[in-house]
């Protein structure tokens, strides 16, 4: 275990607070109260105890297994490299500019040309857009479509929950019945009834962001944002991107403004437009999240064209696992809506037996249809 030695003759507090800052810069959730906890904890084990400092810092600054590796890096950089300047920065992910919808031609020049025809023209334009393939849109059309996502229906599938709720009939609610008797000073009143409540069923979106899906990634993430944004009622939507690796973008998408949310997602996903290893990322999802409970009883929607570089056997095996835990598996393939499409790629052939639905997903209209399928699930 490393020995903690001060890089420069500074006070231990300075040294530790600097370390906490460096950890924050590396993306750890370091807040002021965690800094305090770090100081308290290290004071107890003693800063001259390198291993103790390491564990104390780890217990106070980390809160998920993903943090541990980053913490190790920062710790090593901060306490070892006395000579090195403060470079314990985050491993800057390759800058990935999102294909922003709003750049290029601006909106007003466009609507300007449409003006003479008035509302009718705009309406029919929206109607045409609804059925256009997202991948073939121009920048201004994409901007228009982006505003349409604000009215995309949000599915809210339900399941029976363990909670009970008062109802006119069902089973006898002894608790409430007795409580009413008590209100009447023990005088018997009528019976109270209850039944199982319903709760939102979890929806898990797995979005393929590999090169072959790149034209659709923006629209699909907008859809994911629209579905997961908090509106009326509680929602339980989790979003992952799949490329060469699996990335959880649920937190990143959790902000009201779609542009901000997409930019934040762009920052956390390291593998835009890379290769695909569908089978492996699906395995990673099931190992780390799915089987533990995230996919259990959930509606799992996979957005992918099924172009698998690796063998299709692994993919089929993982889909079988997914099917075994999920409530419903929906596969959305952008190419399905195109004329002459046949599900013949080996990836799609492999997954087909394990899907409840195979849907198209290339236009706004198909997204609406998808919302309906998920809502009914």
């Amino acid at each position: 275990m490393p020995t903690a030695t001060a890089p420069t003759p500074t006070s231990p507090e300075e040294l530790l607070l600097g370390f906490a800052r460096a950890a924050r810069a590396a993306g750890l959730p370091v807040t002021a109260d965690r800094e305090t906890a770090l100081l308290e904890a290290v004071a107890l084990v003693g800063i001259d105890d390198g291993a103790g400092t390491y564990w104390a810092g780890r217990a106070t600054l980390c809160s998920a297994p993903d943090h541990l590796e980053r913490y190790d890096r920062v710790f090593a950089a901060w306490f070892h490299a006395a000579a090195r300047p403060r470079t314990a920065g985050p491993p800057t992910p390759a800058p990935v500019p999102m294909a922003s919808l709003a750049d290029g031609e601006t909106l007003d020049t466009d609507t300007g040309t449409d003006d003479p025809r008035g509302m009718h023209a705009v309406a029919s334009r929206a109607d045409i857009l609804r059925h256009r393939d997202v991948a073939t849109l121009t920048a201004s059309e994409k901007a228009d479509l982006a505003t349409m996502f604000g009215s995309l229906p949000q599915p809210r599938p339900l399941r029976r929950s363990a909670r009970r709720t008062p109802w006119r009939r069902g089973e006898i609610d002894a608790h409430r019945t007795l409580r009413r008797h008590l209100e009447l000073w023990g005088e018997p009143a009528g019976l109270e009834w209850r039944r199982r409540d319903s709760a939102p069923r979890r929806v898990v979106l797995l979005v393929d962001v590999s090169g072959s899906m790149a034209p659709y990634a923006d629209a699909l993430l907008r859809l994911a944002h629209r579905w997961s944004v908090r509106g009326r009622g509680r929602r339980d939507v989790h979003v992952f991107t799949m490329g060469t690796r699996l990335t959880d973008v649920t937190r990143a998408l959790d902000r009201p403004d779609p542009e901000q949310a997409l930019a934040a997602a762009g920052d956390v996903v390291p593998d835009w437009s890379g290769g695909t290893r569908l089978g492996e990322t699906l395995k990673a999802f099931l190992d780390q999240w799915g089987r533990r409970g995230l996919a259990r009883g959930a509606v799992v929607v996979v957005f992918s064209d099924g172009w698998e570089r690796g063998g299709a056997e692994l993919l089929a095996e993982q889909m079988a696992r997914l099917r075994a835990v999920a409530h419903r598996v929906v596969w959305v393939n952008p190419h399905k809506g195109k004329p002459g499409y046949l599900p013949v790629q080996q990836g799609i052939v492999a997954v087909l037996p394990y899907c409840d639905d195979l849907l198209a997903g290339h236009s706004y209209a198909t997204f609406e249809a998808l919302a309906e399928v998920v809502d009914r699930a």
Binding site: R58, A59, S161, L178, L182, W185, R292, L294
Partner: protein, 307 residues
């Protein structure tokens, strides 16, 4: 160090002391876990443990309770758990019985000069004896105790928020009775299997530790201390086998320490002194809980045991 009852929860002076006290209960820790447990005890913060199933998260709470010589109050979380199952509830049937009894006594006594004061009656209804203390309240009232909140990830978000409130102040208020505050804050251990991400607010309150599967030597030491009846040679074989199974990476659910112990005990119960392909295949169910995994392991048993 001998923790004496009644005083402030044991506050150890060094990490080694914690490790030793836990070791005496049969729970072997590594430096990391001992340090974190030491900090949790000294700082009075809840300890949030995550890790694969079967790595001893729950057992640590039991060992802590034993080492501190205080009771363990366990709260198993599940979906839909709410404050009335975690905190307290009034015993309605007994309250009604009490009311009826009062009424009968009053009637038997006859005269209306005996009529009880309604406020007194009300007060007698919300007496401590009609209070059903659930785990959290119990831990506050009976502290010093170790409160184990098991599988917190199974509970809903709302429950997490409620727990956060209790864990930050170590007090709850019951409208009819007043505020109940822990004399000494209980030692709180939360475990999570990461079926969902916990809220940052709750995590910030806690010391976090990820428990990994132990290495070969420590796992062997654990088996020797937890299941001393198993012959040393057999224990070593079983541990080596499970370590091997964990590193393969193609199993849905690699065996944890709990499974290693089960397996060692199962083999011992069969009277085997040596792990061979036949007995291993017969007792595999103690360590491997998935049919697909079992098939895979069976197919390669000879190779693993041979090599």
């Amino acid at each position: 160090m001998e923790p004496s009852s009644g005083e402030v929860a044991w506050s150890p002076t060094s990490v080694a002391e914690v490790a030793e006290a836990l070791g005496r209960t049969g729970y072997l820790t590594d430096d990391a876990l001992a340090t974190v447990a030491f900090l949790a005890l000294r700082l009075g913060r809840p300890l949030l443990l995550e890790g694969e199933p079967g790595t001893g998260k729950t057992t640590l709470a039991e060992a802590l309770a034993e080492a501190l010589d205080v009771p363990l109050v366990r709260m198993q979380c599940y979906e839909g758990i709410d404050a009335s199952q975690a905190l307290y509830d009034w015993d309605f049937p007994r309250q009604i019985l009490h009311l009826r009894a009062l009424e009968t006594v009053a009637r038997a006594a006859g005269g209306d000069d005996q009529a009880a004061d309604p406020t007194d009656v009300e007060k007698s209804l919300y007496d401590e004896r009609f209070l059903l203390a659930r785990p959290v309240l119990r831990s506050l009232r009976e502290s010093p105790v170790v409160l184990l909140v098991d599988e917190i990830d199974r509970a809903d978000d709302e429950f997490e928020a409620f727990l956060l409130e209790v864990l930050s102040t170590y007090q709850v208020s019951i409208p009819e009775l007043g505020t109940i505050r822990a004399a000494t804050p209980p030692v709180v251990v939360l475990t999570s299997n990461r079926t969902r991400e916990l809220h940052d607010a709750l995590k910030r309150r806690c010391l976090y530790h990820w428990i990994d599967h132990p290495g070969l030597e420590r796992e062997l030491a654990i088996v020797r201390s937890r299941a001393p009846e198993v012959p040393a040679a057999l224990a070593a074989q079983v541990v080596r086998m499970t370590q091997e199974l964990r590193t393969r990476g193609d199993l849905l659910k690699p065996p944890g320490v709990a499974e290693t112990l089960d397996w060692a005990r199962a083999l011992d119960a069969l009277g085997s002194v040596d792990l061979d392909v036949e007995t291993a295949a017969a007792t595999l169910g103690a360590a491997i809980k998935y049919h697909d995994d079992a098939e895979r392991v069976r197919a390669s048993l000879a190779r693993i045991l041979g090599g």
